[in-house]
């Protein structure tokens, strides 16, 4: 369930944009290659960063844990001759892998569909510019920025059996995060749920779409929000282990 959502979401979104660009191709003929790529990738990034990525993480964290809640298998997992730490870490690693997979697919599909557009509509100037490495860096940063949320949501889903609590908390926090980051609140970098949005904002040039000049693209991988995200991820991950140890299986 978590696995398929991690695969289908990037496919769907990229496909949608592909269709959008494809059907409006006449209007885009005059746009220079770099702007074309930026609009294409930027549209995907914009949706992802603000709402979709956090919600996807909420869902992945939930689905990884809910398998065990539903089958009531926590008790049998924790009564196997395997260190509790390994069970906990293995579960987390899987969620971690799913988020990574999803973001990698986004890079892949963005580039893939972009190139497909340039083949199908040679009039579009997609082949004038290449942004593979930039895009990979942006998504890497996005991934790092989302780890704080992942740890928090993972712990919530581990503790609560039902979907509503982690979902509700995650959703509310995401909205708050988007607002905080969107309003440029100066402490937004301290709030994990703002990090993906901050990442997107910092990498996308503000004047995108206005067509004024050729924008400079630069990815500064290690900004303070990324450090906060990584810090939160590690601390919550370790804290979660001790909570799991203490809470026992009831």
């Amino acid at each position: 369930m978590g696995f398929w959502s991690a695969v289908l979401l990037p496919l769907l979104i990229c496909l949608l944009l592909f269709v959008g660009f494809f059907s409006h191709s006449e209007k885009l003929v005059s746009v220079p290659g770099i702007m074309l790529w930026l609009q294409f990738a930027g549209a995907i990034l914009g949706v992802m960063g603000s709402l979709l990525l956090p919600m996807l993480i909420v869902f992945i964290a939930y689905s990884v844990n809910s398998i065990e809640h539903k089958a009531d298998t926590w008790k049998s997992l924790f009564s196997l001759p395997i260190a509790k730490w390994s069970v906990y870490a293995a579960k987390y690693a899987y969620a971690f892998f799913l988020v990574l997979l999803c973001l990698m697919l986004f890079v892949l599909f963005t580039i893939g569909f972009g190139n497909l557009l340039s083949v199908l509509k040679p009039t579009l100037k997609f082949n004038e510019y290449h942004m593979e490495s930039t895009l990979a860096q942006v998504y890497l940063k996005l991934f790092l920025s989302s780890l704080g949320i992942l740890s928090i949501q993972f712990l919530l889903s581990l503790l609560f059996r039902d979907f509503l609590k982690p979902m509700g908390i995650g959703f509310t926090a995401t909205i708050a995060g988007v607002i905080l980051a969107g309003t440029d609140w100066k402490y937004a970098y301290l709030f994990p749920y703002s990090h993906p949005m901050l990442t997107v904002k910092s990498t996308l040039p503000h004047d995108i779409g206005k067509g004024s000049g050729i924008p400079e693209l630069s990815v500064d991988l290690f900004t303070k929000d990324i450090f906060v995200s990584l810090g939160v991820a590690v601390v919550v991950f370790i804290l979660g282990y001790f909570i799991v140890l203490k809470k026992s299986v009831k």
């Binding site: 398998i67 539903k70 089958a71 009531d72 298998t73 926590w74 008790k75 049998s76 924790f78 009564s79 196997l80 001759p81 395997i82 260190a83 140890l245 203490k246 026992s248 299986v249 009831k250």
Partner: protein, 299 residues
Amino acid sequence: MVISTEGLSFNFGNQQVVKSLSLQVPKGSIYGFLGPNGAGKTTTIKLLLNLLKTDQGSIHIFDKELQSNRVAILSEIGSLIEQPAIYLHLSGKENLMNRALLLRVSEQRVDEMLALVHLKDAAHKKAGKYSLGMKQRLGIALALLSDPQLLILDEPTNGLDPNGIIEVRELLIRLVTQHNKTVFISSHLLAEVERMATHVGIIDKGELLFQGSIKDLEAISQPQVQVELENTVDAANFLKKHGFNVIDISDNSLSIPYTSKTQMGEINTLLNKNGYMVYSIHKIHKDLEKLFLDITQNA
């Protein structure tokens, strides 16, 4: 001793669920752990598996302290707690294979286990589509998979048909007698474990009320005089007037605690002389089921 606990206590919030338990489970025994609903059986089992953290007291399994030898001890335990933990979207065999992977057990062993619990035909059916008894069988197969020294089973025959119950019973007896394993099995029915248990522990409201071999349990059972006649209610009132303590009345018989042969003769004469025809009168040992009820109700 395979399991030995001392002063084991556990609280859920401020409710004390397990009170200073001292369990002694000898090697090669089938230990029936009995108690009514809510007695604390499952909680005790979770403590034995280190799923719940002991508040007070100590647990030694295979003569090793549980907390500090957790992985080593658990590698020799197979367990089934309450409803078996099964992934419903996987088939029976996939469930076993999944566990076999974690325990590094061969596929051949998985097939053996499927055959043992008669799930070969349903091996590739989704476990979600299993009947209650089939799920329970799969749970037992999961517990046996690693060929553990000690089996801890929480009401394993829950939901099994009479045939299934007999099979499980015979399987457990075979494991103990032929393979020298030890079985710790909980139940709220004494009758269910009576035929296989070598040792019994009776728990109620978290307290251990009795522990010993099944013979010890039989020994403390109080003999009774059972009289078969008609009009049992009148006869009982009559006997009470004459100072006998009638403890049990049914439609066609009544029971009085046995004290001596003379007492039995007196009862017989008294009834016959006063127009109550006695069809039969004999001394019986209270069955274990009643004994169990007595022990748990008098506490």
